[in-house]
């Protein structure tokens, strides 16, 4: 299991972000159905959910780039809409996709977006240099970003969000498609921001990132917030159960269906590696599980029994595993 966040407890002062009953539809599709939560200064809040759960839509409404159909977003006590520009200076948004100008250098990208945030003169020049050092891009500052590796582009993408030292930093899946080294660097940066008192809204579908970084977690599925709390509070919902992770190949769909019918099995879901079970007591149950798998045409190559984590919570709440 990953080490949970060691950052200090969030500040008890008024919320940096308040989201109330946020809603958004695209035609017939109700993408976000009344999502509500708050983030305090210095708090790292993880928004966890599978792809298509409504995380990015929620984030875009909070960042003020997408108009909400209903609900309210308040940042630093001021209500945010797509047209209230002044509130946006409190927000630093790092979109899921790398949003850079390829024909401009790293320094030019930072300077441009800094100016858009209202920075100028010496303050802008200082912040650009600070961010270049923070993102370890100082020695490539003059290079056009089209020449950068994926990891370097990701780091710069995050750096732009930090440039104006926002009160609220919104990170939308910042580590997707990033190499291990860059990923570790990004996570360290985020933890450091939180320690410095910045409120962070972090969306991901990587459980380990949420467990490592976030003080509180909101689990979102089908546009609805299905659970919210600290890691410990959420895991408690699962109860005294074991989480069984099986590496397997074959007819996984039939395998999970049959295993779900066994006594002592509460949930069974398919994962990238095979399947994940939530059971009362794994030890006496495993022989029957493997027997059932064999009969279902599933070839198991490995098994791990762990204490429940947020993945198990999601499985417990939705009956499905979080998948890539």
């Amino acid at each position: 299991m990953n080490t949970p966040v060691t950052a200090p407890a969030p500040d008890a002062s008024p919320s940096v972000l308040q989201v109330e009953d946020l809603q958004k539809s695209y035609g017939e599709i109700h993408a976000v159905k009344g999502v509500s939560f708050e983030i305090a200064p210095g708090e790292n809040y993880g928004l966890l959910g599978p792809n298509g759960a409504g995380k990015t839509t929620t984030i875009q409404m909070i960042a003020g780039v997408l108009a909400a159909d209903g609900g309210r977003v308040t940042v630093c006590g001021k209500e945010l809409t797509t047209t209230t520009t002044s509130v946006k200076s409190h927000i630093g948004w790092v979109p899921q996709e790398v949003a850079l100008y390829d024909r401009l250098s790293a320094r030019e990208n930072l300077a441009f977006f800094g100016r858009m945030q209202g920075l100028s003169g010496k303050e802008l020049a200082n912040r650009v240099e600070e961010v270049l050092h923070l993102t370890a891009l100082a020695d490539r500052a003059g290079d056009k970003t089209i020449k950068f590796s994926g990891g370097m582009r990701r780091r710069l993408n995050i750096g732009i969000g930090l440039l104006h030292q926002p009160d609220l930093l919104i990170l939308d899946e910042p580590t997707v498609g990033v190499d291990v080294q860059s990923r570790a660097s990004i996570l360290d940066q985020v933890a450091e921001m939180t320690r410095q008192g910045m409120a962070v809204l972090y969306t991901t579908h990587y459980i380990e990132e949420v467990e490592r970084l976030c003080h509180r977690v909101g689990i979102i599925d089908h546009g609805t917030m299905i659970a919210e709390g600290t890691r410990a509070e959420l895991v408690k919902m699962v109860g005294e159960r074991d989480q069984v992770l099986i590496t397997a190949d074959g007819n996984l769909s039939e395998g999970t269906d049959r295993i779900s019918e066994l006594d002592g099995v509460h949930q069974a879901g398919i994962t990238n590696e095979g399947m994940e079970l939530l059971v009362d007591d794994a030890t006496p149950l495993l022989p029957r599980v493997f027997e059932t798998l064999t009969r279902s045409g599933v070839a198991a190559s490995g098994v791990r029994v762990e204490e429940p984590d947020l993945e198990a919570v999601f499985l417990h709440l939705t009956g499905r595993a979080l998948r890539d």
Binding site: Q60, A63, G64, V65, L66, T82, T83, T85, S86, V87, K88, S89, I91, W93, P95, E97, V98, A99, L100, Y101, D102, R103, L104, E108, F112, F113, R115, M116, Q117, G118, I160
Partner: protein
């Protein structure tokens, strides 16, 4: 307002680094204008305007109207606008055109004046070299203009004759007498758009306008590109209103369009010998034409879903308007429906404005082209901006 300026500056920097803008805005029009000028316009004839040489053969000698034609042509020659040589008969005129002694010729058949008085079919024959379509168009245009004037004078004359109880002979005599003081018909030297522009200037103006349309959609294309690359979403998350982002994009279009035409005019002045007169008024014409072209391109490209699609739309519009607007060959010398249709393009008005201006006269002579271009720009840009607002989302 500073944020708009920074966005425009950032986009300009990217465009300059991309270099495509130089190809369409400078190199390609210079190459095309040089090629056309070399082929049709007397390459590097920079000091003097091109003077077309026309031959006239009048088989209707003594006819009052054919005489009026000859007199009108002679007047144009005395003004230095054209050169005239007279030929005794049609074969001699044909030979002169064929051997290149004259650029084109007019043959007035026997009985021409009588036919007009009788109201029967009468026409001036234009003799031209098929390998010189521009001059043929010019000559046809002049003959058409003369025919129009004659028709108008005939109608007025017929009315007078009826009212005064004149015989046809008396009417013709009266017309002849009157023509000594005030000729019943005049020959237009050239159509407006080519009347005073020499070859290099005409083809330079055409090429500038044609290729300007390829670059003037840069604002809308840049908006679509920003959306594709997610930088638009990032801009929308900053404290800059969507309206300002949009304004920056349209300012970019106008800046790039005007810049490319201005740069091209400068280069064409020295490399091709194009003559751009009255710079402030020419600049007004350029700005209005660029505005109109930017509006039309944005209007059409605004239907596109992607920047690639928008680029294709822009190319189609550029080629269609270029041909229709007579940037390479004057449309007005040909089919009249096309001539009317060409007035829907900013190209035709721009060329007309430059032509009118080159004869001098200041702002007054280009008022109509300027007003039409400004109206085109205002209408199309307004509709384009309203349409582009729906693009302002991630």
């Amino acid at each position: 307002m500073r944020d708009i300026g920074w966005i425009v500056l950032k986009d300009l920097r990217q465009q300059v680094r991309d270099r495509t803008i130089f190809i369409f805005g400078l190199i390609a029009p210079l190459a095309i204008a040089a090629a056309l000028s070399l082929a049709f316009g007397g390459f590097f004839q920079t000091e003097e305007a091109v003077v077309f040489e026309f031959g006239v053969s009048n088989a209707d000698a003594g006819g009052p109207i054919s005489e009026a034609f000859s007199v009108a042509m002679a007047e144009l020659e005395s003004e230095g606008l054209i050169g005239i040589t007279f030929h005794r008969d049609r074969p001699s005129l044909d030979r002169a055109v064929e051997e290149g002694e004259v650029d084109a010729g007019f043959f007035i058949p026997d009985g021409y004046s009588r036919a007009i008085v009788d109201g029967s079919k009468a026409e001036v024959v234009v003799v031209a070299n098929p390998e010189a379509p521009v001059i043929a168009g010019v000559a046809a245009s002049m003959a058409e203009q003369f025919a129009l004037e004659v028709a108008s004078a005939s109608a007025a004359g017929a009315t007078l004759a009826i009212l005064a109880g004149f015989t046809p002979e008396q009417m013709v005599q009266a017309g002849l007498t009157a023509s000594q003081a005030n000729p019943p018909a005049r020959v237009a030297s050239l159509e407006a758009e080519v009347r005073q522009l020499d070859g290099p200037t005409y083809y330079s103006a055409g090429a500038a306008m044609f290729f300007m349309v390829f670059v003037v959609g840069v604002g809308l294309l840049s908006l679509l590109e920003e959306r594709k690359r997610h930088t638009l979403a990032r801009l929308l998350s900053s404290p800059v209103s969507p309206g300002r982002i949009l304004a920056a994009k349209f300012i970019l279009s106008i800046t790039v369009g005007v810049g490319s035409v201005a740069l091209f005019m400068l280069f064409s002045r020295f490399l091709l010998g194009a003559r751009w007169v009255e710079p402030p008024i020419t600049a007004l014409l350029v700005v209005a034409a660029v505005g109109a072209a930017a509006g039309i391109v944005s209007l059409v490209a605004g239907w596109a879903r992607t920047s690639e699609q928008a680029q294709n739309f822009q190319s189609v519009v550029a080629v269609a308007m270029g041909i229709l607007g007579g940037t390479f060959f004057p449309i007005s010398g040909g089919d009249s429906f096309l001539a009317t249709l060409s007035l829907a393009t900013p190209h035709a008005w721009f060329m007309r404005g430059l032509g009118d201006l080159s004869g001098g006269g200041g702002l007054g002579v280009v008022a109509l082209p300027l007003v039409v271009l400004t109206c085109m720009a205002a209408v199309t840009l307004t509709i384009s901006v309203l349409g582009a607002r729906r693009r302002m989302r991630p």
